[in-house]
């Protein structure tokens, strides 16, 4: 019974983290048909920036609670700056190319950013653990939960809810849906597709950076951070259905819970379990749990 509680708690925390990372990726894919490998670099950049800023904040002895706002600020700055650079400097020139070629272009960007990150921050780890212990703990039955983790769950739910609300209940969201559904038709109706793309990519980038920034206090930020995150995010996005935001929520939950189950019940299967689910879903439902089949055109 206690094990089950641990699995559920761990699983939900892990799922929240996965959702924050993956939702930006699926949004960008849904709108722009760009499966962004460099999303992992945005994650890493967000984590490094946040860790550095938090370190400086505590060194100066400012109010500790302010460091939480600092994490958000770091994500915003990194996401906006990098988003602008990537979309205006690269992706704009690749519209209309094969999806797979665009994946490779973002893979190239990922390679470049890996070295940029190393040039800026070097090879040592950047721990910034202070915010993690800031909020205290809550005990629920046998569990002792860190309130930071609970805040992470709340943040994930907030992001999921906001994206759902934004997409289905606002005018700009409906314009976005029109672009997702049929880009050419939307353009013909007078929607400025370029601007929609830019805004979408900026939102996606900020979310990627936010994933990193919010994780920075929980881990020791070090080399190779982005590499593992990419395939995990791929797994979530593919399980849920490429481009589907409710799908990302479902995918994150499924993968989060099964990883937690594997960690507690069969530790050898930790990595295996995630990709087993991804592969099985692809085999049974190639378009993901909530994805739509694509029509074949002659």
């Amino acid at each position: 019974m206690a094990t089950l509680a641990f699995i559920v708690a761990d699983g939900i925390i892990y799922a929240s983290w996965l959702l924050i990372v993956a939702v930006g990726m699926t949004l960008v894919y849904g709108v722009m048909r760009v499966l962004n490998v460099a999303h992992g670099s945005l994650y890493a950049l967000g984590a490094y920036t946040a860790a550095t800023m938090v370190g400086a904040w505590f060194q100066r002895g400012y109010a500790p609670l302010g460091s939480l706002a600092l994490l958000l600020a770091a994500a915003l700055v990194v996401g906006l700056v990098m988003g602008l650079i990537l979309e205006l400097g690269l992706l704009r020139f690749l519209h209309g190319r094969d999806e797979v070629v665009v994946v490779l272009a973002t893979y190239a960007t990922f390679l470049i950013l890996e070295d940029v990150i190393q040039l800026i921050w070097g090879v040592e780890a950047r721990p910034a653990p202070q915010p993690y212990s800031l909020l205290g703990t809550t005990s629920v039955g046998p569990l002792l939960l860190n309130n930071y983790d609970l805040a992470l769950i709340a943040l994930a739910l907030l992001i999921g809810g906001l994206s759902w609300w934004g997409l289905t209940r606002t005018i700009s969201g409906k314009l976005l849906l029109a672009v997702i559904f049929d880009r050419e038709m939307a353009e013909a109706c007078g929607i400025n597709v370029r601007r929609v793309f830019l805004v979408t990519f900026l939102i996606g980038s900020v979310l990627g950076a936010l994933g990193g920034a919010s994780t920075a206090p929980m881990i020791s930020v070090s080399r190779g951070l982005g590499v593992d995150v990419i395939v995990l995010a791929f797994a979530v996005v593919v399980v849920g259905g490429l481009g589907s935001i409710p799908g990302a929520l479902l995918g994150a939950t499924v993968i989060g819970l099964s990883r937690a189950a594997a960690v507690h019940l069969l530790p050898q299967a930790e990595v295996f379990a995630i990709y087993l689910i991804m592969t099985l879903v692809l085999i049974v439902r190639p378009y993901g749990l909530l994805g739509h089949e694509r029509l074949r055109k002659v």
């Binding site: 994946v103 295996f272 692809l282």
Partner: protein
């Protein structure tokens, strides 16, 4: 009399030159060539798929299966024959390719890439946690023997080099012939319009299955050769970054000729060797910039750049 096929002539000449050069080249160049040619063999398989518009983001699966098959057979069954071992790698990867091909052939575009990625990461997850296979450290592959004889280090290296050169030229000739057959010519047709290929009376799924198995066999053989040449295998052989490198080489090379993947792989190997030596902190950046430049300015890869300069001259 028909004019001789220029690709065949070039390949035969390359074979003679490379084997002869093997006696003079310094050892670092020999290792570089072995690894590059082996990687070129994998890229050749990827190239055939890429001609149909399919990109496998998990070719490292077969590469690693080939390597681990060799390692296991050599370690557990004490089979160390230098000819037999690569064939074991090919056989293991081919069997797996035939089996997985029944699934893969139903997938296209990004879904093909993702499912192949999934399979390779599954295998990676398996290897990382298997302690009898050394987990993340992997294990050393015993030195290969010839007809039961153990040769000197130098002779073994030369032998592996000649074997790799022969395999590379052999599979290049084979694939060159395959691309000239009707089956081989269907690949670009599939890329352009699959439905019309069906109307012509061909089964796209079967074409893709054949290509997939071909790619698997080539990657398995290359993995086996790499394992023997390097003398060590570890799970990173199956990780997605290895697949990424292999796809990188394919894009870098272009699909213009069966020679292209080997040239591209050699260029990749040279960049890697020299960048790691002189600018280790920016070598990934160099790769990234090169890949972007190819995608943006030379969609046909290095080969198209070569051809373009030849037309101008």
């Amino acid at each position: 009399m028909r004019a001789p096929d220029r690709t065949v002539v070039a390949l035969v000449m390359a074979f003679v030159v490379l084997v002869a050069a093997g006696f003079f080249l310094p050892s670092w160049a020999v290792s570089l060539l072995v690894v590059s040619l082996a990687r070129g063999i994998v890229a050749l398989g990827l190239m055939v798929q890429f001609r149909s518009g399919l990109v496998s983001f998990g070719q490292a699966l077969f590469f690693a299966v080939g390597g681990y098959a060799v390692g296991l057979i050599a370690l557990k069954l004490r089979v160390t024959d230098v000819i037999l071992l690569p064939l074991v790698g090919v056989a293991a990867a081919t069997l797996l390719g035939v089996a997985l091909g029944f699934l893969m052939r139903r997938y296209r575009e990004i879904f093909f890439a993702m499912l192949s990625l999934g399979f390779s990461m599954l295998f990676y997850g398996l290897l990382v946690k298997t302690e009898t296979l050394g987990s993340t450290d992997g294990f050393n592959v015993p030195t290969p023997t010839v007809f039961g004889l153990r040769l000197s280090v130098l002779a073994t290296r030369t032998l592996l080099y000649d074997l790799t050169v022969a395999s590379a030229v052999g599979v290049a000739l084979g694939v060159h012939w395959y691309l000239g057959t009707i089956l081989g010519r269907l690949d670009t047709a599939l890329r352009d319009n699959e439905v019309r290929v069906e109307y012509l009376g061909y089964a796209p799924a079967r074409v893709i299955h054949v290509q997939y198995v071909l790619g698997a066999a080539l990657a398995g053989g290359a993995g086996a050769l790499t394992a023997l040449a390097v003398g060590h295998i570890d799970p990173s052989m199956a990780y997605w970054t290895t697949s990424g490198e292999l796809v990188f080489v394919t894009i870098l090379s272009g699909t213009g000729s069966v020679i292209a993947p080997f040239l591209g792989s050699l260029v990749f190997g040279l960049i890697q060797t020299f960048a790691l030596q002189y600018a280790p902190s920016i070598w990934q950046m160099i790769l990234g910039v090169a890949l972007l430049a190819i995608i943006l300015y030379f969609p046909g890869g290095l080969w198209s750049a070569l051809e373009r300069s030849r037309v101008r001259a």
